[in-house]
């Protein structure tokens, strides 16, 4: 099957400088596929996510472009639009996504995780760094993050395949798999 290109730096990168550059990113856009595995419900959707400072737009759509959901957010609030449904408003994206899809997506934390960064201001456990200075895994806010693949985007290395799992009390787990197919850092 189509193997995603793995691009890693030839020699170990300066991790602190690399992380600082990632944290300084004001504008980025990704095109990905997100797989969700929940007890009793699983599926996959196409995800596009554009972040511009504090404003963001997430779009989720199923195969053949069905069931498209657009989520627009900024510090004042979040709106979800879906064809055939009245727009939904909420204070947080987490609540909005749960109300409309039943999926628990840690959107605020994902904003850092998707860049390969831990979320600022929250404790991190079991941070593992690969030989080339790229994050391999860590635990944060009850989630276990694992970075299986990276892609080179301009001078940075951004995740290509991320798996996030959250064990649940009944022994089952929530698992999100994000396969990123396209990164863009310019403002178009």
């Amino acid at each position: 099957c189509a193997r995603l290109p793995t691009q890693t730096p030839e020699s170990a990168l300066d991790r602190a400088a690399h992380e600082q550059a990632l944290r300084a990113l004001e504008h980025w856009r990704l095109g990905a596929k997100i797989g969700v595995r929940l007890p009793g419900d699983s599926g996959s959707a196409r995800l596009s996510w554009e972040q511009d400072g504090e404003r963001y737009r997430l779009s989720l759509s199923g195969p053949l472009g069905q069931g498209r959901i657009d989520i627009d957010g900024d510090p004042t609030g979040v709106t979800l639009t879906e064809a055939g449904e009245p727009p939904l408003e909420a204070a947080s994206a987490e609540q909005l996504i749960f109300d409309s899809t039943g999926w628990e997506l840690p959107v605020t934390a994902l904003r850092s995780w998707v860049l390969g960064l831990t979320e600022p201001g929250a404790p991190v456990a079991q941070l593992e760094v690969g030989p080339l200075g790229l994050t391999r895994s860590f635990q944060q806010e009850g989630w276990q993050l694992r970075y299986d693949r990276y892609r080179q985007v301009e001078s940075l290395y951004l995740p290509g395949l991320v798996v996030a799992r959250r064990p649940l009390t009944d022994g089952s787990e929530i698992r999100l798999t994000l396969a990123v197919h396209e990164w863009s850092l310019e403002r178009d």
Binding site: A2, K33, G43, S44
Partner: protein
């Protein structure tokens, strides 16, 4: 127009070719694009493989539907249900008479028909199907937000014999099979 469409679809036993799928926003700007190949055969069997920008296979044998994502190493298995029946890909492989009861059909011009769902909670607002001498050349689906998904079908061939195994999916080693 309904009978015309029904008869056109009736002699369409199978259709295969390549597709480009483009999502246009309400101002007609392109937001997303994907492409791949497809095979459809009555009743209810189809194979829809997206190649760009990501790999994905949507396969149905008429009862079960598989959504295989090699990049996620995951396949979701569902039984074909009422809701899924309405997706454009299935429209072509469904029995034509069912179409004219579920949709109002109007003839836009030669070879072009528009279907408008008659039921209350439709999956789409309207679907326009353009025929060509080698089958169907375009299907355009409009949702309630003015966004349109346009499937352009190219090098299409009609009623060729189809390898049945195409409509059954066997999960490769190491792929998570998620039964819904």
């Amino acid at each position: 127009a309904g009978e015309e469409l029904t008869s056109r679809l009736a002699n369409l036993v199978s259709l295969q070719g390549t597709f480009t799928q483009v999502l246009l926003d309400d101002a007609g700007r392109e937001m997303e694009r994907s492409s791949g190949r497809f095979v459809m055969q009555k009743p209810g069997r189809f194979y829809w493989e997206t190649l760009e920008p990501f790999p994905q296979q949507l396969i149905s044998n008429g009862q079960t539907i598989w959504l295989y994502d090699p990049d996620l190493m995951q396949v979701t298995v569902r039984q074909l249900d009422e809701q899924l029946e309405k997706t454009p890909a299935l429209l072509l492989s469904r029995d034509p008479k069912a179409l004219t009861t579920a949709y109002d059909v109007s003839k836009v011009k030669e070879q072009v028909y528009t279907l408008t769902p008659t039921e209350s909670e439709p999956l789409f607002v309207s679907l326009t199907m353009t025929f060509s001498d080698t089958g169907i050349s375009e299907v355009s689906v409009e949702d309630g937000l003015g966004q349109r998904t346009v499937f352009s079908l190219t090098d299409t061939r009609v009623n060729l014999p189809v390898d049945e195994s195409l409509f059954h999916f066997n999960a490769p080693e190491g792929v998570d099979v998620l039964i819904d």
